[in-house]
């Protein structure tokens, strides 16, 4: 017993000869480390947008399945989307997806700094084409769905 205590106490000088590497003291990072600072929170929120992306795809798969089954099933599907819970869920998902889109588009100038005449082109000018494409595609999709045949 006393021998054991002795060896444990002598761990620092015996480290080199010891069979087991001594375990250094390390403070465990809390699971909620990202709540403390806006920077970290933003990072985690951006990571969480992926859940909304997945949710949208699942919703689309259900929509396709309803279309596949026929007009009655599709009417039931659109009826379900009108429930307050679904509206709330989709509103949250929409906010997250917008957050993803905006942070994604603004990332482009960081990932690919453009220089012209030795000067760096301002970030908003590099990101601008992304926004133009985004608006054009959105208008086109809206037009396809809303035009009266």
């Amino acid at each position: 017993m006393t021998d054991e205590v002795m060896t444990n106490q002598g761990v620092t000088d015996q480290a080199a000869r010891s069979e087991f590497h001594p375990r250094w003291y390390r403070e465990r990072v809390s699971t909620w480390w990202w709540l403390g600072e806006w920077h970290y929170l933003k990072f985690i929120l951006r990571e969480l947008t992926s859940i909304s992306v997945a949710w949208f795809v699942v919703l689309t798969l259900f929509q396709l399945r309803a279309l596949w089954h026929g007009p009655e099933t599709y009417a039931r599907f659109t009826g379900r989307l009108q429930s307050p819970a679904m509206i709330a869920l989709n509103l949250i998902a929409f906010c997250f997806v917008m957050f993803h889109a905006i942070t994604w588009f603004n990332l482009a100038p960081r990932a690919m700094p453009v220089r012209m005449g030795g000067k760096r082109v301002p970030e908003f000018l590099v990101a601008a084409p992304n926004y133009v494409l985004w608006i054009a595609v959105s208008v086109f999709v809206g037009w396809l769905l809303l035009r009266t045949p």
């Binding site: 990072v29 699971t31 990202w34 985690i44 990571e47 969480l48 947008t49 992926s50 859940i51 992306v53 997945a54 949208f56 795809v57 699942v58 919703l59 689309t60 798969l61 929509q63 396709l64 399945r65 279309l67 596949w68 007009p71 599709y74 009417a75 659109t78 989307l81 009108q82 679904m86 509206i87 989709n90 509103l91 998902a93 929409f94 997806v97 917008m98 993803h100 889109a101 994604w104 588009f105 992304n130 494409l133 985004w134 595609v137 959105s138 999709v141 809206g142 396809l144 769905l145 809303l146 045949p149």
Partner: protein, 121 residues
Amino acid sequence: MMGESTTKPSNEAFLWLLFSAGGVVAAVLIPIQLFLFGLAFPLGWLPQPSYEHLMALLYSPLARLYLLVMCSLPLFHWAHRFRFTLYDGLQVKHLNEVIFAFCYGGALLGTVLAAYLLWSI
């Protein structure tokens, strides 16, 4: 061990490419789609497109390809981000393999389901 260290980086690069492509598709296409089908149509802000109108759109192979891309790539985007959220956010590194299988398995399953539905509609 050797094999793992030589194959892993190239795998990661490929998965990162899928993540990146999915990120673009999700950013460009999902906001308008979710806004219309999830909010504007159910709340009556805009007239709901009829079943016949949607089926007429789906008749075009281009529309089906569009929907397949819109479902598949964002799922791989999700898989990448979500697995790192679980690794880092919750510090569950010991479950890496399970998380990896769940995320990419889910993305593959979603892609297969979308392809099947779009093929048979």
